[in-house]
Amino acid sequence: MAEKDIKVGIGDMKFARGSNTVITYALGSCIGITFYDPVIKLGGLLHIMLPSRSDPNDPKVFKYADSGIRETVRKLTAFGLVKSRTVVKIAGGAKMFEMKGNSDFGNIGQRNATMVKKVLMEERFRISAEDTGGTYARTMLLNVENGDVVIRTVGKPEKHL
């Protein structure tokens, strides 16, 4: 059993099939998006940092919500993912610092969330659960065996999305 968790870094995506846990640590303003097809037990976790890729030549596709989601879907589809049965969950998009007198600062989390939802809708996915906003970081885990998504935060019990 004791397989090592698969870690997803900032601006990256990893997926697994059958068993294993995919995990991304300490999502601040970033957003974690899990895609899970329960029939073939295929699950991917994408960790995006910014809303949109403005430079089409930027090779870091997973850094941005728009290019990241599309590339993840393309990849997972190639491995057999079927959109209509895919369960999508999102977490993150927090505002870590509240700047007095400058409410615009640090609302990147909110902009990320808006963009993620927009792109998912365009790609015809329904978000079945989300845990976004707030002022704290989240660690997100996807258990590929059963599709369970766990959110870990400081000072609160674990939450199953």
Binding site: Y25, G28, C30, S54, A94, M96, F97, R152
Partner: protein, 206 residues
Amino acid sequence: MRLKRYEDMNLQDLDVMKEISSIGTSHAATSLSKLLQKEVRITIPEVNILSYDETVDRMGQMEELVAATLVQMSNEVNGLMLFIFKQDLANAVLGKLMGKQYESFEEMDEMDYSALEEIGNIIICSYVNAFTQLVKVEIDLSVPSSTINMLGGILTVPIAEYGYETDKLMYINAEFIMDGERLSDGLLMLPDIQSLNHILEKLGIS
């Protein structure tokens, strides 16, 4: 602009930043020393341009609980200053200031948080003051904002703020020495790229 990204800085640029940082951090140590009425020494800082993952690795763990104070810079230099307290430094400071010690940040109360926020602010302000005098630039500082949360989450703030310009952070790492104990100190100075060029131009390196 000569530099397009942080990682374009050459050895000479980094050396100059290190020199200035060393004066900045020693001012910060002096302020801390006055506040705590205790001798505080500081090691010569290292200035490193690191990726997000490298910065987290140098400072601790992703999910490690830390306290952070953030101040925005504006005027001739735009950017962010971030000061991070790990548990050991927080305890040393709160112990001296209020006679309190904690196992974890979670046990602290509002008053401890405000004390840490203010100390972070003082350290940042004295660093920036020394910096402005040396470089001869005007820098305005915002009121501080602070949080206690996962190190990894806190460091996403500067990385996302300048995410369209660079994937790197400028990490100024020195250690405070109090009672013969070395305490880790994490200061991040993050001018935007235009400001970084401006600073280096002002110093005559371009």
